[in-house]
Amino acid sequence: MKKSAAFALATALLLGTAHAQEKVTLTVAAFPSLDSAIKAILPAWTKLHPNVTINLQAQQFADHHNAMTTALATGQGLPDVMAIEIGYVGKFAEGQGLENLNSAPYNAAQYKKLFTPFTIAQATSADGRFIAMPTDIGPGTFFYRKDVLDKAGVNPLTMQSSWENYIASGKKIKQKTGAYLVNTAASVYNLVIRTNLKSGEGIYFDKQNTLLVGPDNARFVRAMTLAKQVRDAGLDAKIGEWSNEWYDAFKKGTVATQFSGAWLQGALQNWMAPDTKGLWRVQNLPEKGFASWGGSFYAVPSKAKNKQWAWEFIKFMTLNQGSQITAFKDNGAFPALIAAQKDKAFSEPVEFLGGQKARVLWRDAAAKTQPIDVNKYDSIADQILQTELTNVLEQGKDVKQALADARAQIARRAR
C-alpha cells in the first residue's frame, strides 16, 4: 500500500525531528499497582527520550475504569495512553473509541507472535480489531499449604488429578486437621466454568454470540454440582476474597488451598501473610485446567493528542525486555512478552514457596492457556449466575432449574 508507506515515512520523519528538539508531554492513565511498574520503568524511558515527559495519572481501580468509560463516551479528557485491566478490555474492545492497532501506522500484527498467545485474543474485538497491547498476564495456579497437606497425609498430585479426588482429599484434610479445603465453594464453580472450553467458545457466549449457559451445558452443570458437593460436605469456609477473614485464613492456615493468579504469591509475601514464608507451594490447576487470572493492557484512544509518542511509549512498555523485567521485579507483574519470560530470574527458586521453581511452572501454564472469547454481556451473565449459584448453595435450589432460570434472565438482557 502506497498510502500507508507514505504515512509511515511521514511518521518516521516526524519522530525523527521530535527526537531532536520538540518537548512533548504524554499523558498516561493507569491504576494501582500498574502505576508502580510504570514509575519503575520511567527512568529508563527518560534516559532514551529526555524530551518526552510522562504525566502519569493514577486513580483507584474502579475510578480509573469509570473515568475512562466516561472519557470514551464523550471524547473529552482522554489520555494519550490508557491502561486497561482484563475485566474491562472486552467491553472496551467492543466500543469504538480506541485505535485499531492492526492498521497503519501501528501495524501491530507483526508483534503479536511475541506475546503469550491467549492475551492477543483478549484484546481483539468480535470484528477483528486489535485494540490494546498486553503488558502483564496472570497465569492461573493452585496454591496449597504444604504443612497442612503433610499433616493430613494428602498427596498434592492426587488433588490435582481430578475434581472428585480434590473433594475427597478435602474431606480427609478437614477430618485430620480441621482446616477447610477452600475459602468458598464458589471458587470451585468459578474455576470449572473457566477451564476446558472448546475452541471458539467464551465462558458464557460463543463466537457467534450464542448463549451457552443452560441446563444442557455440561460445563455449568458440573461446576455448580461440584460446588454444591463442597458446600454439602462442609469443606468451604464460606469467606469471600479480599476480606479480613480471607487474610486471616492465610495467616493461620485454616484454609488449605486457593486457586488464583500467580500474582497472589507477591501479595501473600508482601502483606497478606508474610509469616507463612516457606509453607506454601504451587502446582497446576486440577484436571489440567489452564486459566488466565488477571492481566493488563495499554491502548491508544482515537482522540488522543499525541498518538505517535503514545505508540512509542506502549512499545517501550510492552516490547522492551528490560521494561518487562523491571515491572516483574517491582511488583511481580508477570510479563506478557515471551522473550522476557526467558530471563534468568524465571529459573530462580522462589523463597516464599520453599525454594520451588514456580515461575517456570507458571510460564508453561501461560503457554498452555487457550484463548477465551470475550463478550460485552459477560458481566451481566456473571452476576446472574453468581446469584443463581447462591440459590443452589444456600437454598438448595436444583442445579438444572437454576441454570434454566439463569439462561432465561441472561437471554433477556443480552440484546
Partner: protein
C-alpha cells in the same frame, strides 16, 4: 406607517436595573440546567434507547418501551431489588420512628438540661462518613473475627453469618441504616416538640392529664406536620438506599444479591454492564415508585388529619 422609535441612549444605570437581577440569579439556573435539567431529560431520552457509553455520543438505538418491559418482566433482577429495598426500608424505617418519637419526647420533657448534648450525640451517626461506618460495621459483623459473634460465643451461641446468610443480610443492613438515621429523626421530632406551646401542656396538667395522655392527645396530634415530613424523608431515603449496603456488601449486594437495592442495581447496570438505557428506564420506574409511596403517605396523613 408606524415610526421607528429612536434608539434610546445606552445607560449603565438602566442596564443594571433591568438586567443585573437576572445576571445575579443566573448561576443557579445555569448550574441547574447543566447538572439538573439536562441529565433529567437525557435519562428520559435514554430510557427509550439502547446505548453503551463506549459506543460514543450519538450511537444510540431507539427501542421504544423495551427497556421498561425488561424491567417489569417477571424474571428480572429489578423486582427482586425493589422487594429488597422495600423490605430493608420497612425493617429500618418503622423502628426508627417507633424509637425516635418517644425518645424525643423523653429528652424534651425530662432531660431538657442535656438537650444540646443529646442532639449532638444523636446527630453524629448521621454526619459520619459512610465508608467509616461500613468499615466499623463490617468488623462488628465479621463471622470469625467480629465482636458480635465473639459475645455470642461467650453465651454459647453458634457464630452467625451476618453478612453471608441471604436471610440475615436485610436485617444486618437495616440495623446499620436504623443506627445511622434514628438520631436524625429524633432531632427532627425534638424541633417539632419545641414548636408546641407550653400552655397546652399546662392546661392539660390542670385538667389532670398524666404523661401518657399528654403524649397521646397533645404531642402526637400537634406533631403531625413534623411526622409527615419525617415519614416522607424516610420513604424517599429508604427507596434510594445505596451507600450502606454498597459499602457493606460490595456491588453485588452480598450473598445471593439479598442486599441488592434498586439504586445499586441501577448503578451496576449503568456503570458495570454499561447498559445506560435500561438503567435509565429503571431510574424512572424507581422515581414512580417513590412518587406513589409519597403520595400515599400524603393521602393517609391528610385524610386522618381531616377527621380530627
Amino acid at each position: 406607517m408606524s415610526q421607528r422609535a429612536a434608539p434610546r441612549t445606552w445607560s449603565y444605570t438602566r442596564f443594571q436595573q433591568r438586567f443585573a437581577p437576572y445576571l445575579f440569579v443566573s448561576p443557579f439556573f445555569i448550574l441547574f440546567a447543566i447538572f439538573g435539567l439536562f441529565p433529567l431529560i437525557f435519562s428520559l431520552f435514554l430510557a427509550f434507547h439502547l446505548w453503551s457509553p463506549l459506543d460514543g455520543v450519538g450511537n444510540w438505538k431507539f427501542v421504544g418501551f423495551e427497556n421498561f418491559q425488561l424491567a417489569l418482566g417477571p424474571t428480572d433482577m429489578f423486582w427482586k431489588s425493589l422487594k429488597n429495598t422495600v423490605w430493608i426500608g420497612l425493617l429500618s424505617g418503622i423502628p426508627q420512628h417507633l424509637v425516635a418519637l418517644p425518645l424525643a419526647f423523653i429528652i424534651h420533657h425530662s432531660l431538657r438540661r442535656f438537650q444540646g448534648t443529646f442532639s449532638t450525640i444523636l446527630f453524629l451517626p448521621y454526619i459520619t462518613n459512610a465508608v467509616a461506618i461500613a468499615i466499623v460495621f463490617a468488623t462488628l459483623y465479621s463471622e470469625r473475627l467480629g465482636i458480635l459473634n465473639y459475645l455470642g460465643g461467650q453465651l454459647g451461641l453458634d457464630p452467625v453469618r451476618w453478612l453471608g446468610d441471604p436471610n440475615l443480610v436485610p436485617y444486618s443492613v437495616a440495623a446499620v441504616v436504623f443506627w445511622r438515621y434514628v438520631g436524625w429523626n429524633t432531632v427532627l421530632y425534638l424541633s417539632g416538640l419545641q414548636a408546641i406551646s407550653e400552655d397546652v401542656y399546662e392546661a392539660a396538667t390542670v385538667d389532670g392529664a398524666n404523661g401518657w395522655q399528654k403524649f397521646w392527645y397533645i404531642t402526637l396530634p400537634l406533631l403531625r406536620p413534623m411526622m409527615f415530613y419525617a415519614f416522607t424523608l424516610t420513604i424517599v431515603g429508604s427507596m434510594q438506599l445505596f451507600e450502606e449496603p454498597f459499602m457493606l456488601l460490595n456491588d453485588g449486594g452480598g450473598s445471593g444479591g439479598a442486599g441488592l437495592t434498586s439504586a445499586m442495581h441501577i448503578f451496576n447496570t449503568a456503570f458495570r454492564d454499561l447498559d445506560m438505557g435500561y438503567a435509565s428506564a429503571m431510574s424512572w420506574l424507581l422515581f414512580l415508585a417513590i412518587f406513589t409511596l409519597s403520595m400515599l403517605n400524603n393521602y393517609l396523613f391528610s385524610r386522618d388529619g381531616g377527621n380530627r
